[in-house]
């Protein structure tokens, strides 16, 4: 009987050994490296006189710290520069490929992996970054790890892991016009809570996912970690295979045929059972926006900021409202902004930029918006957008058009909020101080961020689409 889930299949195909205590040693096909979580791992290797197990399994790129403008002037912050130089030195010494700042392929690690065909269906993929779950959109087992595990993968090409439970999130029907994959995943996090997925690997399925582009699927899997699950994944189908076909490092010729034959087996069997199943109706989902300091603190655009009185999590709501400077019961459309950020590993792909540009075209940003940034996810996305004239649309509306990197998603470079500033952001975390100390983040889709830039406040974009 065929009863395996996609996660079971990926797990079984990479299990080197099962330990007596029930944990497994998993073989890792691809290890992505960036500047922030790797220096201590490389140092550990050196101190223990160990070599990378398989150099070619590793690909590095600086993204977290990197400036998004005036790159010809180099990196001004000496501490950031040291970290990026350390990555360059470590990778050069060990013969690991590094797409440095001058490489046209440089970008956010979770954007360039699928884009270059470095991450492929059926792979085990890890990176010292929690948003590694993004790559699960390709039908891969991808999850974030800590620096000790980065060192472990470098030295052994494997990881000791305890198998998670299986969860299926099935989304039925069609999303309404103007409702995007970002709104869908925010709605799911709102329902599950930030710890609802802890201990699970989540597979997303159903008609809505089947009809979704790869870019949309990546947005969904990217934010799986915001529901507490380390890995999110989606079965391989025609959309996946068409996306991978022709990518720089995707297999070619006979190997392509062989790979596709295997990839077509990467779906849950019809008789597979899940430990937990959540069914969502796509048509019930509205454009979403977070009001608080955790991604689960989310409400639909026609909703209001909650009242802590009588709320089951009254203390958390009260503390979040205080930090966010919001009044209980106010309509979310009254929330006004200082800054707008379109970018991050969640929403910086070409489709996201097209979605935002579609709203912005022919308009200008509101007077109260001090800064509106578009930070494409990679060099090739930036070039593609420019070839479509999207940069002109953003620039003439008053946006800044920047170089690729993580930027204001986590504000490790100069792109950040000042204390008290409020930002409409297409990124993935609205934690206190995430976009700068004292900064206030509202997560939303690229279309909603674009509308917020134009109107200066949260706007229900459904009307733009005739809903």
């Amino acid at each position: 009987m065929n009863t395996k889930t996609l996660y079971d299949k990926l797990w079984d195909d990479h299990e080197v050994r099962r330990n007596e205590d029930g944990t497994s040693l998993l073989y890792i096909d691809r290890h992505l490296i960036h500047e922030v979580t790797s220096p201590q791992a490389f140092e550990g290797l050196r101190l223990n006189q160990r070599q990378p197990w398989r150099t070619g399994a590793n690909v590095a790129v600086p993204d977290h710290n990197i400036p998004t403008k005036d790159r010809e002037q180099g990196i001004k912050d000496p501490i950031s520069k040291l970290q990026i130089d350390t990555l360059a030195n470590n990778t050069r010494d060990l013969g690991i490929t590094n797409f440095d700042m001058s490489d046209s392929r440089q970008g956010i690690v979770h954007v360039i992996g699928p884009e270059q065909g470095i991450t492929l269906p059926g792979m085990t993929i890890v990176c010292g970054d929690s948003h590694t779950s993004t790559h699960g959109a390709l039908g891969a087992l991808a999850f974030g790890i800590g620096t000790s595990e980065v060192e472990h993968v470098l030295a052994t090409q494997s990881l000791v892991q305890e198998k998670s439970k299986n969860m299926l999130i099935r989304v039925d029907g069609q999303l309404k016009p103007g409702v995007t994959p970002k709104d869908m995943i925010l709605a799911i996090i709102g329902e599950l809570g930030t710890a609802g997925g802890t201990g699970y690997a989540i597979e997303f399925g159903g008609e809505t996912i089947q009809n979704m582009s790869m870019e949309g699927r990546m947005t969904v899997c990217n934010m799986t970690i915001e529901a507490g699950a380390r890995a999110g994944m989606i079965a391989v189908d025609e959309t996946t295979i068409n996306y991978v076909n022709g990518r720089n490092f995707a297999p070619k010729g006979d190997e392509w045929k062989q790979a596709v034959d295997y990839w077509q087996t990467l779906h849950s069997d019809t008789d597979a059972t899940f430990d937990k199943t959540l069914v969502i109706q796509a048509s019930n989902i509205q454009p979403m926006v977070t009001w608080g300091t955790s991604p689960e603190m989310v409400v639909s655009v026609d909703g209001t900021v909650p009242d802590p009185e009588g709320h089951p999590k009254a203390d958390q709501v009260r503390s979040a409202l205080k930090y966010m400077g919001l009044k209980p019961g106010m309509p979310v459309t009254e929330i006004t902004f200082d800054k707008v950020f379109i970018g991050s590993c969640t929403n910086s792909r070409i489709e996201d930029l097209r979605e935002a540009a579609g709203i912005i075209q022919g308009r200008t940003i509101a007077k109260n918006i001090k800064l509106a940034l578009v930070v494409p996810g990679s060099g090739p996305i930036k070039a593609q957008a420019e070839s479509e004239g999207l940069d002109k649309i953003f620039l003439s509306a008053g946006f800044e058009w920047r170089e690729p990197g993580c930027s204001m998603c986590l504000a490790m470079n100069d792109d950040r909020l000042e204390p008290g500033e409020r930002c409409a952001s297409t990124s993935n975390r609205n934690f206190e101080g995430r976009q700068g100390p004292g900064g206030r983040t509202h997560l939303l889709s690229p279309a909603m961020a674009a509308a917020a830039a134009i109107n200066g406040h949260i706007t229900n974009i459904s009307s733009e689409y005739g809903n």
């Binding site: 220096p39 201590q40 995707a250 955790s294």
Partner: protein
């Protein structure tokens, strides 16, 4: 890694759920290329009234006196008591590094985020999951008794106090073994070197496209 046997120490209560790793150690400190020195910046945005920068001397910084770790009563605490979903968000191992560098060796919580939980064990920190009523009892006990201390013994998997508290806790055998022996997990995995190599060879034959060079 230092072997973990028994920790006896003061308990500090952090009465918040969903404490994320951005709060545990803010982003500016992630620029360090070292594993140590993060302790003074643990919970930086909650602990100080000004904005901290890496390398800064924290001795003269204005303290947020409302923040629990600044209460003299909890100075020198080695056990952190907190609520659900502790360590959510970013995978940064700088979070457990900061916690350890500050002096905490045990964290008692209703639940932990997966990556953070795993990161603790790699650094000699023991994260213990207790039921919500047990956590609530401990919060009350800490509040009621200045100097409230506990003894956490890994071998017997027991949290005890002279006054009679005795709470057993669950733990995965492999993690316990590594922690109690201060074991280098990489060394242990490399003892299966031949098995990894055999697996890799078969994997390469079956799926050669996985081994293509990225240049």
């Amino acid at each position: 890694m230092k072997a973990f046997k028994t920790v006896k120490g003061l308990v500090a209560p952090l009465d918040r759920a969903n404490v994320d790793t951005d709060a545990i150690i803010p982003k500016q400190f992630l620029k360090s290329i070292h594993r140590t020195g993060f302790g003074p910046y643990l919970f930086d945005e909650w602990r100080y009234l000004d904005h901290g920068e890496p390398g800064q001397d924290c001795s003269g910084r204005p303290l947020n006196t409302d923040f629990v770790l600044n209460d003299n009563r909890y100075k020198g605490a080695s056990i952190l008591l907190t609520k659900a979903n502790f360590g959510c968000g970013s995978s940064r191992e700088h979070a457990p590094w900061a916690i350890l560098d500050y002096g905490f060796q045990v964290i008692l919580a209703e639940s932990f985020a997966d990556i953070f939980y795993s990161n603790c064990f790699k650094n000699g920190i023991l994260p213990i999951v207790l039921k919500s009523d047990q956590i609530a009892d401990l919060f009350r006990a800490v509040e009621a008794e200045p100097g409230f201390s506990l003894k956490v013994d890994l071998a017997s998997q027991l949290i005890t106090k002279d006054s009679g508290i005795s709470i057993p806790f669950a733990l995965d055998d492999y993690r316990k073994y590594c922690l109690i022996n201060g074991l280098d997990e990489i060394g242990k995995t490399l003892s299966y070197k031949a098995e990894i190599a055999t697996f890799e060879k078969q994997h390469r034959q079956a799926k050669p496209w996985l081994f293509k060079e990225v240049i």
